[in-house]
Symmetry: C2
Subunit: 378 residues, 2 copies
């Protein structure tokens, strides 16, 4: 979680100007190995959207990773990193038919769907492809819950997969996502039970599904402790054995945050510390990065990043933390103020840890004229 | 509000691929004239952050507008559009000292502050500059309220301005912002009363403030009707006369949304329409633009854009509207579903109106691989 020695050395020697993300590839290497050894029979599809830096994609490709992509652009990035098309899935359930056609032309043959309407597009633009149907889970226990945007009711999934079969596609499996930063191990058991019920229904129609896509949701450690990769693997293996018995299907996982979150640290600078009135007991600390510079996941204060300064041995006091733009929504932590050293002052460096995932790409193009978040992958 | 004939003609003749914003400069020209004629004695500082397209800045510069900027980059854009430095303010209360120094070097001499700490930076980096102190207002009545991020308690403002005076700066005035998209006309009266009290306190110290910055907050018409520019001007003039009597100070306004909001229309395309279960009575309509492609102001469903299709004569049914990314937060309207024609289908064009402000720059760099929002200024 904390800044690695390599990151610290980089900051000391390179002294990069302005807010920036530094990603340590060695941490990602370790994370991949941990997933791979905890779940040896499961193929890993890295969720490219978490951080599509070419260096990360190249490293993961060299280690044998597959790639879960959200758009044609991400497919091209995965292929550019050396991935063969059979190791790339188009995991977005919302695709333009012309994008499906492009993916098909690029050799992609595994697509996510969650509706008959989407199946029809895949059948038209990528004949013969494999599809898996995403089902809705309740997301309880996730810090960044998934709303109802993706997936259909489990009861509808077999209709979706039967439609795929009828249209000449391979009804390949079921997918779910227990919610990002999921810390409740039982979430997988429930979802696996629902997946098995769909396997059974399909078998009654003479169709054998082959794959369960266990999705992502593997957490990275922010401030609270989270279960380790091994605990997740155990929970998943138990769930598979319980529901599928001796007929355990092919499985894949799609870690994004769990693969890169703890590999990155954002370096920021204190721009201003002030109070709103003479007797204010909370300081306002303004940083040179905020919600529109990459920290969008502080929305509703959902994710609470560890913030480290050189003065952390000093006594601390509660602060509201905000970004540098003229936008009043650009406040990181206010509902639950953040303890920072009383001796913190303007110009001090601040490290925002565990920011390797969902930061660079969330960054706004030029909001208030501020450039997007720079990133150094080392 | 609606797409102008020029925008419709552009879409028909150019057929731009992918989601894009089209801005009609003629509407901005009309808006500037409306502000200028409704408030003839007030200088207009266009809030560049609302939409910094060079064509817009050049037009407004040619009409005599001044510019309110949030960063050194925005200052450079205003100067590049032809503005002289005396017509550019650095309106962000959160500035790095080196950015203040750069602004000073570029000739900027009007700065916003809201704390003694910020005054000290301005005094050090831009000696002799004019500063105005922003005060907190409650923001009631605003659709996109301003939180407490900017401004200090009115009771603290005279301390801030006295500190500026002592450090050799010109204590120039008071600024407030009644909240973006403010529809309660009385909001200005309250704030003007507080401003006058600060003028009085400063006079007791022998310092004559000269300016009231009335901020922005002028609304653009989304779905609900809003008072016109003239109504705002009347409310402001009444407030000025009531509180300042015969000693009405110099005034400036900082319209952003009110200047460009209704000049832009986003063209989008329906990517998928589906249901979550067989008996769902709400359709999910997925567009090719969402919260991370420029519609960030739909956060908490704060701003409800008018959405127009070619099929609006048909019967309508309630829809959840979501964007195209694999992010579950990328949902535009769900708490209050949006009525769209029952005959709407995949591939249909959808116009999202009144999207000229806070869209292109809010757009994420490459979230999920999707490119930032394209814009055409015509």
């Amino acid at each position: 979680m904390a800044a690695t020695q390599r990151i610290k050395d980089f900051l000391r020697s390179e002294k990069p100007e302005g807010p920036c993300l530094i990603v340590d590839l060695k941490v990602i290497e370790d994370n991949f190995r941990a997933f791979d050894s905890a779940m040896p029979g499961t193929r890993i599809f890295y969720a490219v959207k978490a951080n599509p830096a070419p260096e990360i994609l190249k490293l993961l490709n060299s280690m044998g990773s597959c790639f879960d992509t959200a758009s044609v652009e991400e497919i091209k990035m995965a292929l550019a990193a050396g991935a063969t098309p059979d190791r790339v899935s188009f995991g977005n359930t919302i695709k333009k038919q012309r994008d499906i056609a492009t993916a098909h032309m690029l050799g992609i043959s595994l697509f996510a769907v969650d509706s008959v309407e989407e199946v029809e597009k895949v059948a038209a633009a990528a004949p013969g492809a494999k599809v898996f149907c995403r089902i809705l889970t309740d997301g309880a226990g996730a810090e960044w819950p998934l709303s109802r945007k993706f997936g259909c009711d489990p009861a509808m999934a077999s209709d979706v997969l039967l439609a795929a079969h009828k249209l000449g596609l391979t009804a390949y499996g079921v997918s779910f996502h227990v919610g990002s930063q999921q810390t409740r191990l039982g979430a997988w058991d429930t979802a696996l039970g629902e997946a098995k019920a769909i396997f059974d229904t399909m078998l009654q129609h003479g169709i054998t599904l082959q794959m369960v896509n266990l999705g992502g949701g593997f957490p990275t450690k922010y401030l609270k402790s989270v279960p380790g990769t091994r605990s997740y693997a155990d929970a998943i293996h138990e769930g598979l054995a319980k529901h599928f018995g001796n007929a355990i299907p092919e499985t894949i996982i799609e870690p994004g945050r769990g693969m890169v979150g703890n590999a990155g640290v954002i370096k920021s600078e204190v721009v201003l510390i002030s109070k709103k009135h003479a007797n204010d007991n909370v300081r306002w600390v303004y940083l040179d990065i905020g919600k529109f510079g990459g920290l969008a996941e502080t929305m509703d204060e959902a994710i609470r990043y560890p913030i480290v300064t050189d003065k952390d041995d000093a006594e601390k006091g509660l602060c509201v933390i905000a970004g540098p733009t003229c936008d009043s929504a650009d406040v990181l932590y206010e509902k639950v103020p953040y303890p920072l050293p009383l001796t913190l002052s303007v110009g001090d460096e601040v490290l925002i840890e565990a920011t390797g995932a969902y930061t660079t790409t969330y960054s706004a193009v030029a909001f208030n004229g501020f450039p997007p978040l720079k990133a150094y992958v080392i």
